[in-house]
Amino acid sequence: MDSWVRFNAQSQAKERVIRAAQYACTLLGYTLQKGGATADLHKTVSQLEAHMSMTRKMLRLGNSVEALEAAKRAIHLSDSVLRLCLTISHLNRAMYFVCDNILWAGKTGLIPKLDQHKWSQRSFRYYLFALILNLTRDVYELRLLMECEGPYRASKAPHSPNPSTTLSADHLSSPATPATSAWIRRQLHLLVTVLYSNPPLLLDLVKNSCDIFIPLDRLGIYPTGPGFVGACGLASSALSILTMVHPWLKLKP
């Protein structure tokens, strides 16, 4: 109970729980529609989803300041790729929150004649850019770790029957040769090992991969449907709650 109190005290944590509930409603609405439930129940679920979405918009009212502060901190990183990715990602997040705040003002009636569709599309574009940059950062970190881990494993592993010189000649001729497939298998094994020994990176990668389907669907770039979007949103919210409950699982910086 004490941990719930501490968790509840963070407003970001509450927002994540409401996000999980919102995407659960999306998924539930899709399931009910497929299962042929009553229109009444479907309407209740949609109304609940809309109410949670509005509340989350209200809760996010101050977040652009937080994103700008995070961007300011990211500028001081030593690694240039990380610095670039994270700063631009935070700036895109700040712009996403600004668009989101404007949408909230439009929905509550503070700004009467607001083109909600235009601003909604804008906000999803910024969100998509931020997610692409986060994924780029994840892939970069993964590549760095694999480069470190690769030679270490090669020195530990027994001498391979196929020397590395035949490898480069062979993989140019035909992709199905045993040397190439062995290389691919080794790389995959290395990838799995690196991810397994770095849970924060794995969690961040899975979370961003799940999240990216949401703006892709809403912008019409890769429409998947409300069921898949709901499932992805729910999964990423659950992972994000997990990183809040266990702060060691959060990817730093």
């Binding site: 719930w4 509840n8 005290a9 729980v17 209740t44 509550t108 009636g109 503070l110």
Partner: protein
């Protein structure tokens, strides 16, 4: 900016800002109610107030557990009066949150067949009782401080000088009242947390008093008192020295 981020990261901080905005809207609506030119603005403020109120109800969904945990903590206090007042206040707050959650579920459509009026009255009653208990605790703390100060030799000297200062002023007609007021003000000045908490609880008290019909004021008074208590609440969070412990 860093302080703002830290403040809004606490869910209590955000809730207090939303509450202040909600009551500021209520006050503005009351002040502009007869102004025909500002009908648009009044409609916008009403919509903002409704949205904030609905959002806050969802935001408060987990707070029952917080209050129960607080009640468990206050049950272990050594001072019996404090223990009784604070535990009763926390239990009543937990009941208030339960009523509030039921009202939320009804407004969203999850529960049907719930008498909104009855549950709203019950929630106001629980809130009122928790405020009365908090005020009782404040009065008890102030009385304790006053007794402690009255026994202090340095303070007694200070009081003698104050009473002896101006014998021809009206206060000297009732010297006991003057002494009591001086003691009260000095005690409150030395412990601002108690003064701030008392003021906040008195402001808050007008809200359920109006809803329950015990002291009919008007929407303007309710809005003003709500705004004042929210602002005091924000100040208490920003400056922890104004938070009354336990």
């Amino acid at each position: 900016m860093d302080g703002f981020v830290k403040f809004t990261n606490q869910s209590q901080g955000r809730d207090r800002i939303f509450r202040a905005t909600q009551y500021a809207c209520a006050l503005s609506i009351y002040l502009l109610r007869n102004n025909a030119e500002r009908k648009d603005l009044v409609a916008k403020l009403k919509s903002l107030e409704t949205n904030m109120s609905a959002g806050r109800k969802l935001f408060r969904l987990g707070n029952t557990i917080n209050s129960i945990e607080a009640a468990k903590r206050t049950m272990r206090l050594s001072d019996r009066v404090l223990c009784l007042c604070l535990t009763t206040a926390n239990i009543n707050r937990a009941l208030y949150f339960i009523c509030d959650n039921v009202l939320w579920a009804r407004s969203v459509g999850l529960i049907r067949g719930v008498d909104k009026e009855r549950w709203s009255l019950n929630s106001s009653r629980c809130y009122f009782l928790s405020l009365v208990m908090s005020l009782t605790r404040d009065v008890y703390v102030v009385l304790q401080l006053m007794t402690e100060r009255a026994r202090d030799k340095n303070f007694r000297q200070k009081m003698e000088t104050h009473l002896g200062e101006s014998p021809d002023v009206a206060e000297a007609v009732v010297p006991q009242l003057d002494a009591f007021c001086f003691l009260l003000l000095e005690s409150l000045r030395s412990h601002p947390a108690v003064a701030v908490d008392t003021l906040k609880n008195i402001c808050d008290l007008f809200i359920p008093l109006h809803r329950l019909g015990l002291y009919q004021s008007n929407a303007g008074v309710v809005g003003f008192c709500g705004l004042m208590s929210s602002v005091i609440g924000i100040v208490t969070l920003v400056q922890p020295k104004f938070t009354l412990k336990p």
